[in-house]
């Protein structure tokens, strides 16, 4: 009975604090914003891409909008699990897939695309006219070129598809579809366990459970292709217990056949990729160290779309569904499912929107009361990122947004540590957050590292439970940043 003395063998989860109970939300019809669609030139890890289109140019569905920048040989590509060989093979197979494209202009771009490891191209999911290319803050807070495209028609009805001969082999078809979906197959190289994460990873977002109900066909074909490509020993679909009915679970089990269902207990942080890895490997959860990932300039503690550790690769269900869509329809995924909740919107719910919709248009649809809005969050309550309204764009990786009329907790409310030990109980990584935070407050970075600062997932459970309202996870993140600077 180690729970008696060790604690945290099964971390005490934060219950699903449903802002309002929305278990049975279903998405409405696809919404078509009146404004141009916006595409930040960034890959899924936040690496910048170079725009390949000009203002006023007509683009078709599947046209290359942006490509990895041409790096000189001095800047060595970042190599990790995949290794250089896989990188080269990956690149060549994408090139092979793309070189069949009937668009001559794409040729030199692709040839020059010696991107760093993990970068992929950005394809246009709609046909239309490039009305603007401007520098705006992207998801990570850095300024990136954002391509604005005014679609000629809703994406589903568009016939203007970039003519591209379909690759003959199954493998290169998958490569092309993965490129369309923005997935880097090289990341899946050393995968023993593949986990498709269908859990809503944070409190207050509902996009994934809705996607599991509504895009099962895409999900199944994407997952089947991915699982056979990866050659993983086991492929799982992680689903939070209690979020789907028994009948829905049964249909998932049946339709997503190559995937075994991995039922995850309800409550934060059980749906985070780190926790899924820990569940499969039996090791204590550790912070993600994806190769090539860039630290965001804005404070964020949410997990990346693809997460590899210890032979387990966790990929979000929205990316897999996008892959399935791309495989089936031979075009980049055009729409995504996101939830909007919070007390600043009058029509909270799950919405199907085109990829690239400006967030302001989505929130308008959800009935945002602009004058009362005080806090806007991309993601959930516990690890989401506070953002400004104007520059935010709905992307493939977005699961939900929250709009509140009051700003959460204020740091000035924090009192002294009362040594109640709640943060120790809440920490899924088995650390002592209060100890690390105290050391970080004194700038004792080395001691903070020895107390395990670098193993913090940043899930925010400690700061959530702290009765004194201390900014524990924020201080630990500060220590992590300092330790990275020392490196």
């Amino acid at each position: 009975m180690p729970w008696l003395w060790q604690g945290r063998v099964a971390p005490r989860h934060i219950p699903e604090i449903g802002l309002r109970s929305r278990a049975n939300w279903r998405s409405s019809q696809v919404f078509q914003p009146a404004t141009p669609l916006l595409f930040p030139c960034q890959d899924w890890q936040g690496n910048p891409l170079t725009p390949q289109v000009k203002r006023g140019e007509e683009v078709k569905v599947g046209s290359v909008l942006a490509a990895p920048p041409n790096l000189d040989s001095a800047e060595a590509p970042l190599v990790s699990q995949g290794g250089r060989a896989s990188q080269a093979s990956q690149r060549s197979s994408i090139q092979a897939a793309l070189s069949t494209a009937g668009r001559p202009a794409a040729g030199p771009v692709i040839a020059a695309a010696k991107g760093r490891y993990g970068t992929v191209h950005l394809f246009s999911p709609v046909a239309g006219k490039v009305v603007d290319i401007s520098h705006r803050p992207g998801g990570s807070g850095e300024f990136v070129p954002v391509i604005a495209i005014s679609p000629t028609a809703p994406a589903q009805e568009q016939e203007a598809v970039e003519v591209r001969e379909l690759p003959s082999s199954e493998e290169s078809r998958l490569q092309l579809a993965a490129a369309y979906a923005g997935l880097d197959l090289a990341l899946f190289r050393n995968t023993d366990w593949l986990v498709v994460n269908g859990c809503d990873p944070d409190v207050g977002v509902y996009g994934r459970r809705c996607l599991l109900r509504e895009r099962l066909a895409d999900l199944a074909s994407g997952a089947t292709a991915l699982a056979s490509h990866v050659g993983a020993r086991h492929a799982y679909l992680a689903v939070t217990r209690g979020q789907l009915t028994a009948a829905e679970l049964e249909s998932l089990r049946h339709d997503a056949a190559p995937l075994e269902l991995l039922l995850v207990p309800a409550g934060y942080p059980a749906g985070r990729p780190e926790m899924l890895v820990s569940r499969l490997t039996g090791k204590k959860p550790n912070r993600c160290h994806n190769a090539g990932s860039r630290r965001s300039l804005l404070p964020t503690t949410s997990s990346p779309a693809v997460y590899c550790q210890d032979g387990v690769t966790v990929v979000g269900v929205e990316r897999v569904a996008a892959l399935g869509y791309a495989l089936h329809h031979h075009r980049p995924p055009a729409e995504t499912i996101v939830s909007v909740d919070g007390d600043a919107v009058s029509r909270p719910g799950v919405y199907r929107v085109p990829v690239g919709t400006p967030l302001a248009a989505l929130l308008e649809l959800a009935g945002l009361n602009l004058s009362s809005l005080r806090l806007l969050i991309r993601g959930g309550c516990l690890a989401g990122q506070a953002i400004t309204l104007g520059d935010a764009i709905v992307g493939i990786d977005d699961i939900g947004f929250l709009a509140f009329t009051s700003a959460g907790q204020r740091a000035s409310d924090a009192g002294l540590c009362l040594r109640c030990g709640r943060c120790l109980d809440a920490c899924p990584a088995g650390l002592s957050p209060t100890t690390i935070a105290r050391l970080a407050q004194k700038s004792l970075w080395g001691e903070a590292a020895s107390a395990g600062a670098e193993r913090c997932l940043g899930c925010g459970a400690c700061a959530y439970v702290c009765p004194a309202g201390r900014p524990l996870v924020q201080l630990i993140q500060l220590a992590q940043l300092q330790l990275e600077l020392v490196k």
Partner: protein
């Protein structure tokens, strides 16, 4: 930690000022303040039972103790150039005053109660730097100060029980020590016996303690560990375990004093060590000490050991030597 910024792209009449704060954006409803007031609320029935048993003289003692604790807290915070209002409204000073009053006999003069809670706040809490920094439970510091300064006043339980004819002026534990008749279990449970204001109402205390455990305000391991250790020790020493559980301030101490967040260990294993330590020391004092009651001293003694217990039970994921090498190698 939060920055207010203007949203640049909104074309409204007045662009909203949004807060850019770092996650988490919500907080558990259980704040320190709420926990303090919940504990106070569960102590109200105890005080009610006390009034029922000992009469209206209980109220001035409690009020004097609470008010002087608040005055001492406010003055100390003012002298330390901290905001007095903030620490007064968190409820900790009220709780200290109330807990101290509940450990005093009904015949305590009011000035003694006032002195006790002033000492509790000033020496027990503010001398260490206020709530969160104190090593000892402040209420127990006040109580032990009074116990060693005015031993006659603090052990004078004469005329305390108004409900029962068979009034004994000694507490049950003292009665055992002196070979007098002891109250029955039922009398012990209902509180019809000599003792301090709060320690006699076992049922009300147990109920309050269970509510606090259910709300996860206190750590169940501590009262459970203390009571189990005392019962086993008493049984092993050939004494009546149930009598030892119900008599003296054991239940008040186990549920309300030992579980103080600030002065108890952080980890689960630490809580067990702490609880067993309190139980053992209590029984050693009860069986062989010169005082008939030992809970206060036992808790204070284990409060003293808490930093040591924390030191050895806090998780150490990485050995310090490895990191110092690693960090120096990086630098």
């Amino acid at each position: 930690m939060s920055v207010t910024t203007t949203s640049s792209q909104t074309r409204g009449t007045e662009p909203p000022l949004l807060v850019l704060s770092s996650s988490p954006h919500i907080h558990s409803p259980l704040t320190a303040e709420r926990a303090m007031y919940t504990v106070l609320a569960t102590l109200l029935p105890v005080a009610g039972v006390s009034v029922y048993i000992f009469g209206w003289r209980v109220l001035p003692i409690v009020l004097t103790s609470v008010v002087s604790a608040l005055i001492a807290e406010g003055v100390a915070q003012w002298a330390r150039r901290r905001s007095p209002w903030r620490s007064l409204k968190d409820g900790s000073a009220i709780l200290t005053g109330l807990l101290l009053a509940l450990t005093l006999p009904a015949s305590t003069p009011l000035w003694v109660a006032a002195l006790g809670s002033t000492v509790a706040i000033l020496l027990g809490k503010q001398a260490f730097g206020g709530l969160g920094h104190n090593v000892f439970n402040p209420a127990l510091v006040g109580r032990v100060f009074l116990l060693v300064t005015f031993p006659q006043l603090l052990s004078d339980f004469s005329g305390s029980v108004r409900m029962v004819d068979t009034v004994t002026t000694a507490t049950p534990l003292a009665a055992v020590a002196q070979g007098q008749t002891v109250p029955s279990y039922l009398e012990l449970l209902a509180g019809y016996r000599a003792g301090a204001l709060g320690e006699t109402a076992a049922v009300a205390l147990l109920l309050g303690g269970l509510i606090l455990i259910a709300f996860r305000i206190i750590n169940w391991r501590i009262p459970f560990g203390i009571l189990a250790t005392v019962a086993i020790f008493a049984w092993a020493a050939g004494q009546d375990p149930l009598f030892h559980l119900l008599s003296g301030g054991l239940i008040l101490g186990a549920f309300y004093m030992a579980t103080d967040w600030v002065t108890s260990p952080l980890t689960r294993l630490g809580s067990w060590i702490y609880a067993v330590g309190i139980g053992l020391i209590t029984m050693v004092i009860r069986l062989w000490g010169s005082y008939p009651e030992g809970v206060s001293f036992a808790i204070l003694f284990m409060n003293m050991c808490t930093p040591l217990i924390n030191r050895y039970t806090l998780p150490r994921p990485i050995r310090a030597s490895d990191v110092s090498e690693e960090v120096s190698a990086r630098a």
